[in-house]
Every structure is written in structure tokens, then in C-alpha cells.
Symmetry: C2
Subunit: 488 residues, 2 copies
């Protein structure tokens, strides 16, 4: 994407640095090039900016003053949480100032009756889960990056993850937010109420806006009771059509305790076993095109195990599942999840990877993997498919030794067009970031994109917040014709 | 509220009627005064407008043409669904045109694998529940008005209801919307995807906007599997502090199958037994200040009954529950729910009623009922409290023979100020409508209300959609000082 720096943004001057030092102290202003490198680059090493200064505020008021200054000076700003994103949303493209929420890391309150957590946006997801776990609750989301991702980043990217099937999306579980607009205005909707119908639900706009409408500084989130019984099974299934039968049966038999329904293909399994140390094959004697990870989370050990066993018996009797195992202890549970969660890391070890995060009707999901495989036949790539089947969310990954424009041309726009034709989403959970800033038209109509642009101008009239991301620069985006075809 | 008709709106002329007749046919344009009366008035008989024309479009395209015409002509429009609201949101104040969605009543699709329903906005909630019930699913919301309320109205008011505790709010379960903006633009976000992170989640703005941002014409909504086992218990509890202990224990013991946790006070019970025929007292030999309705919905009859029984044994052994009964069949279940759902209707039979729908931290909830009772001592009123305790949602109702300004002065702004001081919401689920159009400041900050006004101007620059509702007319609202105090 040969983007050009927008010349309407000012460049950082020494007087700006002086202002920031006065506000944040020396430790709050990072100008050292080594320290900056980690903030300029995403964890995959795919996106890299050239920022010369990063800021580490400790309070919402400091965020407010930083943004008010940047807005007046027309300095572009990239909000950054744990920097674990997959679409280059949290790193600069050019010299945007990096505003990291790492030091906004206080837990403000936890209510043991309702399960409501209020905390600052820089808190690490895993640490929050540990905290609420001590009170008998759990965070309503879980993802591979939990050890380093921040709740503010989770909210800003509307992170989905492994247990969305059970606890729903952040649009339902986030009860309130505090965010700072581009001009420094602090918008406080940090309610802890489950129900509040007073006016428009503004917080929803910040959920998934990837920092383009404001910087999320604090979050109020509803935590469900921590399940006292968790069971995980790993199943071998012969084909994708059968997976859907197993899914329908799982919803019937496991009902309210079903907490994850994940799939991986044979190629994902082999690649992970090859490239990730310490991972083992839960069913070493069975080879089949597909595997499932089915998890239950509930409140009654005996009831839940009985349900899982009954489910497994049924799907094996039906001949849908060729082989299966239920983890018998936490080590076995961790091993199964380690395999599923390890795919993404294994892919990184294997070399370069083209990652696509798509949602679409479940029946059509795997056809895209197969068609992509056919399209790339003869090229030095491995095409793998895995994901959150219960949510209709496919992770299509094309693994290769090194990034190669020629390979990319075979993948894009094919993958996006294929998805748009089925009215799917070209970003199920990763967001658009810089990777797909011009792809929104594949999923959203022109009318919707126009409204988004108008909302952006209300919240950030000078466009200083996370520029070049999410929305297309010129107002038109690559998928527009698809949106039109769809509307016709 | 002595509001004055905004003179910037045009008045309906015969040429407008001609245009509408040409577009909708004679049956789509209602000008008969008898037929209009039902549309001009809310079901409580509390709010009444003077509209001279109501329109009954049959398609989104007709809605689009109606609004484009009204926008060009500066004719104000009130969208109306089942007209079952409680805050006068769906009836005109003056001569606004009523646009009813009653004839937008097609079910478009239902996907049996994912449980996704797509339908037009005029579909009746109970009929939708019957439809998806035939496929083994249930609607994710349920409320007393289900026999006449429409899904478009549910979405536009972000209806909560009886099972929010279990299935979460519409912000989580609505997957997509189609809405028509004031200028006739059709915004189609009618996705059926559980996950879609492409840009701002525009549909969220229409959820709870009470028709002020657009007319919702179709909805895509995620339905959970229909529970095969439902158990309801009715418990007598001596005081409000104990109710909270029972609630915490219910969450622990009933976990994922807990689907409702409702409370009513002795006064609610007596008033309902007196004024509603066919209702019976489930525990006629026990008199205590509070009663609970606790419901479980799950997938395994034996497991669920065992959990409910175990829970009841525990809370009775603890001495928290003085007496209790588990419904043994569907008749007994219906009787308990009939009592709980009948309170609102019984209050209407009893005369005039001042209704407040508030959310706040659970521990403080009932103090407001007691303080209101003290405040009104000596006046000819009955103060009752009931509601969705599991959601922190109190319905405070003051019943009297006839509406009386003097009584109102004792209630308002006291109730709103009391709620604001505890950072509660002055409208938990009913919305603001015309009743509380100037009350938003009790719950939302000035910065938030300002943003809402800016969003309103983007979506509806001429302000033709549902005027005089939701947001304060002059930009300032009654509760502003509270919001300021809170921010300080």
C-alpha cells in the first residue's frame, strides 16, 4: 500500500517535546530510538512506522492534555495498547506520535454481587482475569495474546477470541467506557449499570473503532461467574459437512454450557506439530481432514461431565466422529488448548504468513480454503484453515518462507471478493487497521461508510487520531462495486 | 410539560395526502379520526397527540420515499410500532405524521444452524417466538407486552424485559439492522454474522434511539436454542438485604441456567391480587415484605431440577427464605409469571400511576422505595416496588386514583436526583420518550449529551424524526448540575 504522508499534519518539534516532558516528566516521553523501535513495529514484523516520540501518560487528564495539544498543533497520534494486533492498527505509518496506554493500569473497582469490573485501559487481560478470578468471576473474553494484550485494545478492536460463543461480544458485556476525544474532551460513560436507556449508546461507537474516534482510558465490564467445571474434548471428523452436524448436536446436548467450538484442518495440525515445540497430538493414531476442540464451562462437575460424555457417545454412534478424547485433567486440557492456540505462533515460526480473518455462513466456510489451495497450487505455500466455527469465523492463513508480491496477487482481491459475494465480513475480529483500510466496501455499503466518515468528523474534526486506518483515505474503497451488487 | 409546537415544521397539506395516497394506496393512508385516535394515544391514556394522518408502508422503499418527501417538506414524523411504550415515545405531541410499521411484517429468513432470524420490523414479538420455537430456538427477549409489541419497537427502545439476565441486551444479540434515515437513505447493515469488525458498529446507534435517528425497517437477531427444561420457584424473603444473599447464592448454584431473578414487594402483591382477576397467591399462608421469582432455563430436565431443588434447600436452611415453592407443571409456572407480569396491568386497573424505571447498584435499590413512601406519607397513594433485581432494575410505581400535579411535585425531581446521586439511570429500559426528554442530564454527562446532539444532526439534519423526544429541546437538561457534580 504505497500511501503518502498527509502533508496537512504538522511535524513534531522540540517545543512539542518540551511540552510533553513538562506534562509527563522525562520517563513519560520516549525518544530513544532503541526503545522506540518496539513501539514502531508490530509483533509480526510486518508493519513499521517512523515515529520519533512515544508518550506514556499515567492518567486520563494527561491523555486529555496530550490530545488537546496535538489537536491544536495538528499532530497525528496512534493510540497503542499491548501492540498485539494483526492488521497494523496500533503502529504508525509515518511519524505519528505513539500514545501508549501501558501506564494506565489501575484496577478501579470490582463489585462481587454484580460481577462488574472497572479498570483503566492499560490493564493486561490475563492479569484482570486473575484479579476477578480471586472473587469467583472470569473475564468474558479470552484470546491467545492474553498475556500481553490490554483491555483498552481489546475494546478498541472489539476482540472476539475463544469464548465469544458463550459470553457474547464486547458490545454486550462492556457496560461503560471513558474515552478522550481528539480535542481533549473526556467523555465519561463509565456506568456500571446492566441497563441504561438514556439516549444513544455512545460507548458502542468506541468499541471496534480502533482508536480512530477517541482514546479509551477506562472500561466497565460485566464478568460472568467463573465456571467451576471445565471440560474439553478433541474430536476427529472426516469432512466439513459432518462438522456442522456435530455443531448442531453440541448446541442441543451441551446447551448452555457449550463455551467453545473450534476447528482446525489437518494442514494446521501438521504445521503446528512441526514448528512449535512442546505441542503434542492428542489423537496420534488417527489421521483425518478435520479436528474439533469442544469445550464446556459450567457450575456442576458431575452434570457437565455427564453431558459431555453423552454428547461424545452420540456423535460417535452416529459415525460423525471417528475418534475422540475428553481431557481428564488440567494438563490434558492445557495440551489441547495449547495446540489450538499455538497455530498462530507456529505459523509465525514457519516464515511469512498472509492472514485472513473472515466470517461467513458456516456451510460455505471451508470451500474458501479449498478454492484458495487450488488457486495457489504450484506456488511454494501451505494453505491452512482453522477458527471459531461456532461463530462462523474462519482464519485462513497462507504460509510461505518470505513475503512475495506475486503470491499476494493470487490471494487478493480473490479472498475479499469471494467473501463479499457471500455477504461475509472481511474482518471478523481483527479489525481493519492499515492492512484493510481500503477494504471496508467489501462488507459495508456506501451509505454506511459515508455515515462512518461523518461520525469520524464529529469526533475528530482534524483527523489526528490513528490516520490512514479503518476508513479509506479518499472516501472510496476497493469493495464498493460488491456492496452495490449486493444492494441491487 | 407545556411544550410548544416548533413552528419550523410544515403542516400537512392536501397535496401531501395526495402524494402519500399515490405511493401507498388508499389503505396505506389513514385520515379517519376514529382510526387515528388509537394511533394518537398511548395505551395508558397518558399521552395524546393531534396527528391528522398516519401512514402504513409495506416496504422499505415506501418508507424511504415517505421520509424523503417529509424531509424535503419539513414534515415531522413519529415512527410507531406496537405502541406499547411507557414514556410516550411512539405517539405525536402535536400534528406529527404517524408512520406505523405494522405492515412491515414479513419474516425474511431463519437459519437453523446458527439460529439467526431476519425479519421486518413490524413483526410481533410473540409471533416471532412462535416461529423460531418451531425450529427449536427462542427469541432472546421476553416482556409483558409480547403479544402486541413489535421487534422494531423493541430494538428502537432497546427493550430489556424478563430474560436479559440470561441472554443479555439487544446490543449483543442484534446482529444487523436495516434503517431509513430522515432523507430517505436506506442504511443496510442487515448482516447475519456473529462477528464483523469492519468499521464503526452503526447499528448500535439505532438500538435505543427511539426512532430519532432513523426508522428501523428490518432486523437480524441471534436466537438461542429453546430451553427444553424451565423451572420457576417463588420464594418469600424477610428483607431486602437477604434478597442479595439469595441472589449471590443463585448465581453460584444455578450458574448458567439462571434465567430470571425478579422481586416484588408485599404492596405489589396485594395491589395485584386486588385489581387483577384470575391471579392467585402462590404462597397464601405466608406474609412477608418480599417475594422472588427465580427461573432456570436449561437443556436437561433432571440436572436442572436437581440444581433448583438444591438451591432452594440451601437458602431455606440458611434461613434466608421463609417459604418457597417450585412450580410443578406449566399451569403453576404460568400462574407465578402471571402474578409477576400482571403487576403493571393491575396498576393500570387501580387508577392513575406514576411509573419510574430506574437502574442503580442493587444494595441501594429498595431504599428509594422506602424513602418515597415516607415522602408521600399522608397522600392518597400506594407506593410499590418490583423489578428485575438481577439486572439492578427497579420499577418504582406510585398508584393513585387520579393524576394530580401536587403528587407529582412530591415525586419529581426527588426520584431523579436520588438516582443520579447514586450514579444510576433514570431510564433503565423504558427509554426517555417525551416523559423524560429533559432528564438525560441526570444520567449522562454534558459532553455525552453534546455528542448525541451532533450525531442527531448527522443522521437527521432537519430534525424531522420523532421531535420533542429523547434529547432536551434547548440543549440543556434538568439533571445537568448532577452530571457536573459527578464529574467533579
Amino acid at each position: 500500500m504505497p500511501l503518502i504522508r498527509d502533508p496537512s499534519y504538522a511535524r513534531v518539534e522540540s517545543s512539542d517535546i518540551d511540552y510533553f516532558r513538562g506534562l509527563l516528566g522525562d520517563t513519560g516521553v520516549i525518544t530513544d530510538s532503541t526503545a522506540l523501535q518496539a513501539l514502531n513495529q508490530d509483533w509480526m514484523g510486518k508493519y513499521e512506522g517512523k515515529s520519533t516520540v512515544a508518550l506514556r501518560p499515567k492518567s486520563t487528564e494527561q491523555v486529555s492534555k496530550i490530545l488537546a495539544h496535538c489537536n491544536a498543533r495538528r499532530l497525528a497520534v496512534v493510540p497503542q495498547g499491548g501492540n498485539t494486533g494483526l492488521v497494523g492498527g496500533s503502529v504508525p505509518l509515518f511519524d505519528e506520535i505513539v500514545l501508549t496506554t501501558t501506564n494506565l493500569n489501575r484496577i478501579i473497582s470490582f463489585d462481587e454481587v454484580s460481577g462488574t469490573l472497572v479498570c483503566e485501559s492499560g490493564c493486561i487481560l490475563e492479569e484482570l482475569d486473575r484479579h476477578v478470578g480471586g472473587h469467583g468471576f472470569t473475564m468474558p473474553l479470552d484470546l491467545g495474546a492474553k498475556g500481553s494484550c490490554q483491555i483498552g485494545g481489546n475494546v478498541s478492536t472489539n476482540a472476539g477470541g475463544l469464548r465469544l460463543l458463550r459470553y457474547g461480544s464486547l458490545h454486550g458485556t462492556v457496560l461503560g467506557l471513558e474515552a478522550v476525544l481528539a480535542d481533549g474532551t473526556i467523555v465519561d460513560t463509565l456506568q456500571t449499570l446492566r441497563k441504561d436507556n438514556t439516549g444513544y449508546d455512545l460507548k458502542q461507537l468506541f468499541i471496534g473503532a480502533e482508536g480512530t474516534l477517541g482514546v479509551v482510558t477506562a472500561v466497565s465490564i460485566l464478568c460472568p461467574p467463573r465456571p467451576s467445571a471445565v471440560h474439553v474434548s478433541y474430536l476427529a471428523v472426516p469432512d466439513f459437512a459432518t462438522i456442522q452436524k456435530v455443531f448442531v448436536r453440541a448446541r442441543q446436548k451441551l446447551g448452555e454450557i457449550l463455551s467453545a467450538f473450534e476447528f482446525l484442518d489437518q494442514q494446521s495440525l501438521e504445521l503446528t506439530l512441526e514448528h512449535l515445540e512442546g505441542v503434542r497430538n492428542p489423537l496420534p493414531d488417527t489421521q483425518t481432514p478435520f479436528y474439533l476442540v469442544v469445550e464446556t464451562s459450567g457450575s456442576n462437575e458431575a452434570h457437565d461431565y455427564e453431558k459431555m460424555e453423552g454428547f461424545l457417545e452420540e456423535v460417535m454412534e452416529e459415525g460423525w466422529v471417528l475418534d475422540g478424547t475428553i481431557a481428564q485433567d488440567s494438563t490434558q486440557t492445557a495440551a489441547i488448548w495449547g495446540l489450538r492456540e499455538g497455530i498462530s505462533v507456529a505459523l509465525k515460526h514457519a516464515g511469512a504468513v498472509y492472514k485472513y480473518d473472515l466470517s461467513m455462513p458456516v456451510p460455505e466456510m471451508y470451500s474458501l480454503v479449498e478454492e484458495t489451495r487450488q488457486r495457489l497450487a504450484g506456488l511454494p505455500v501451505e494453505v491452512v484453515g482453522y477458527g471459531h466455527l461456532g461463530d462462523g469465523n474462519l482464519h485462513l492463513n497462507i504460509s510461505t518462507k518470505h513475503y512475495d508480491e506475486n503470491i499476494l496477487k493470487h490471494i487478493e482481491p480473490f479472498v475479499y471478493e469471494w467473501t463479499a459475494a457471500r455477504r461475509g465480513s472481511v474482518s471478523a475480529e481483527h479489525g481493519l487497521g492499515q492492512m484493510k483500510a481500503d477494504c471496508i466496501g467489501y462488507t459495508k455499503s456506501q451509505e454506511a461508510v459515508k455515515l462512518m466518515g461523518q461520525i469520524k468528523r464529529v469526533f475528530d474534526p482534524n483527523g489526528i487520531l490513528n490516520p490512514y486506518k479503518v476508513l479509506p483515505q479518499d472516501g472510496a474503497s476497493r469493495g464498493d462495486h460488491h456492496a452495490n451488487a449486493m444492494a441491487a
